[in-house]
Symmetry: C2
Subunit: 302 residues, 2 copies
């Protein structure tokens, strides 16, 4: 049995940034989340790819202990994204072809239905809902989303929020959903939409987290050099949830540690193109990064 089930996109990305470019690298929300989580726990991914999906990418999943039992390869093309980031790390989509991902219907193999921890990547809220319905006895469920689902599938997403434990959104998504400009207010309000915890990712400006009665904030790891922000938010969520699987009881303090590890893993993701750095990293690298991160944000080390 896999501890953490991740459902989302698996893609082939081509990326341009002011600092360089990468062509046809492994991408997708499920990919980054799984690679972020794998430091702490075995992961099962449910996703779909086309016949053009390279064998070496499949090997990558296996290499990092990511279970491919929910991984379907069907006739057609893999989801492809080509994008360019400006120096403020805002992306512009240059090319997008959903391919077989356009008809993605997540069906969970029995072994994954019993996963205690679940991350629903930013797929259509109706599909996220369908995954929830297939789960036997989840302990902690979490979801992400994106601007277009929040605009066009608002009701479906709000319904989903009543059923998940943790929601991860970025700054623009939470503003869109709550109609609030202040991110501190918006994060608190999001935590009242249903989930126990709302986590708002602000990229280079760090993260905010709220429950009904607690609040937590961290700056981003002060990276000297940003190479490629692709997937950092998904790796953040994956690492955060991965860490949570190692605790029998998820207290607020454990959640805050999870956010800290999420931030550390996200900062490493950004240091190289695509998932390269995330793939090369060991748990020792992650723990070291977290230690440094803590020392950079603590006035007093007691």
């Amino acid at each position: 049995m896999k501890q953490l089930l991740i459902v989302g996109s698996i893609a082939i990305d081509s990326i341009q940034t002011p600092w360089g470019s990468a062509d046809s690298v492994l991408g997708g929300s499920a990919t980054y989340a799984a690679l972020g989580a794998r430091f702490w726990t075995p992961v099962g991914v449910v996703g779909v790819v086309g016949t053009d999906f390279p064998e070496r990418f499949k090997k990558s999943f296996r290499k990092y202990g990511i279970d491919g039992v929910g991984f379907r390869q069907v006739e057609g093309k893999t989801f492809r994204w080509k994008g360019r980031y400006n120096q403020d790390l805002q992306p512009t989509t240059l090319y997008l072809d959903l391919g077989v991902f356009g008809g993605f219907q997540p069906r969970l193999p029995d072994s994954l239905k019993r996963a205690p921890y679940v991350f629903l990547g930013n797929i259509h809220p109706a599909l996220q809902w369908r995954v929830l319905k297939q789960l036997r006895s989840p302990k902690i469920t979490a979801c992400d989303s994106r601007d277009d689902w929040i605009s066009t599938q608002r009701r479906g997403f709000l319904k989903l929020l009543k059923k998940v434990d943790i929601v991860f959104l970025n700054d623009s998504e939470v503003r869109l959903l709550t109609g609030l400009h202040s991110l501190v207010q918006a994060t608190r309000v999001l935590a009242r939409f249903g989930p126990k915890v709302a986590i708002v990712k602000k990229g280079e400006h760090g993260v905010l987290a709220a429950s009904r009665d607690s609040f937590f904030t961290l700056p981003a790891y002060p990276l000297q050099k940003v190479v490629d922000p692709t997937g950092a938010g998904d790796a953040f969520a994956g690492a955060c949830l991965g860490y949570l699987t190692t605790h029998r009881k998820v207290s607020w303090e454990v959640l805050c540690r999870g956010v800290e590890f999420g931030s550390s893993v996200a900062s490493m993701t950004i240091e190289d193109f695509g998932p390269s750095r995330l793939m090369n990293a060991t748990i020792r690298d992650v723990l070291k990064r977290s230690r440094v991160f803590r020392s950079l944000t603590r006035a007093i080390i007691v």
Copy 2:
């Protein structure tokens, strides 16, 4: 002898924000810095006001233990600023009259020449330099600046940076000065321009601090309600320096604590129009805010 000498503007501000407005309130960089520092140390302010400067404002300074010996009242009008903030807290100047501040020539009374701690508010770099030259045996000197001085008086400001211990700039100022977009890089580079410590204020996104070999970052205090950001940066610098005066040796850890207190005081400043909240606050309020702030940013309270 006053511990901390502050040189800068004293103004009468009229402020509009999306959340309300305030007319003809006490303002100016020296005012906010002094009010931020007074929790920890006696402060002497050097500045100039016109004959229209209300008696009640003078009383305010005395009330908060701010020495008026370097405080000159001359024929003419007090510096007046009227501005409007948008919801992103970006200001637009609606009206500006430098008045007697336009001809400000800071001359230090003997008692202030011996101040061990000195903050040079964002006046012309040549005037900041002139103040430095009048000091007898400063222990720690710090300066601020603003976009127009960095653009038009670049050489003068760079010369000043070789002589001060701490420089406080905001995000746009440090980008302008260094030509670097990454604030982490820009903060590190700023610390190599001469000062021992560079502190970059990012408003709602927190603060970065660098020395030649250390780095520190904090998020902003997660305020539920922003009322008026005027003076927050100056109150930050004042509080940071005020805290430093309480330590015989200013280690990196002490500096980081100063940054933490600066953030706490800045967040309080923003909670009401003009300097109202800063004036009402006691050191107990500041310590309480700092304790809460720490608990909001620490995953583990050891």
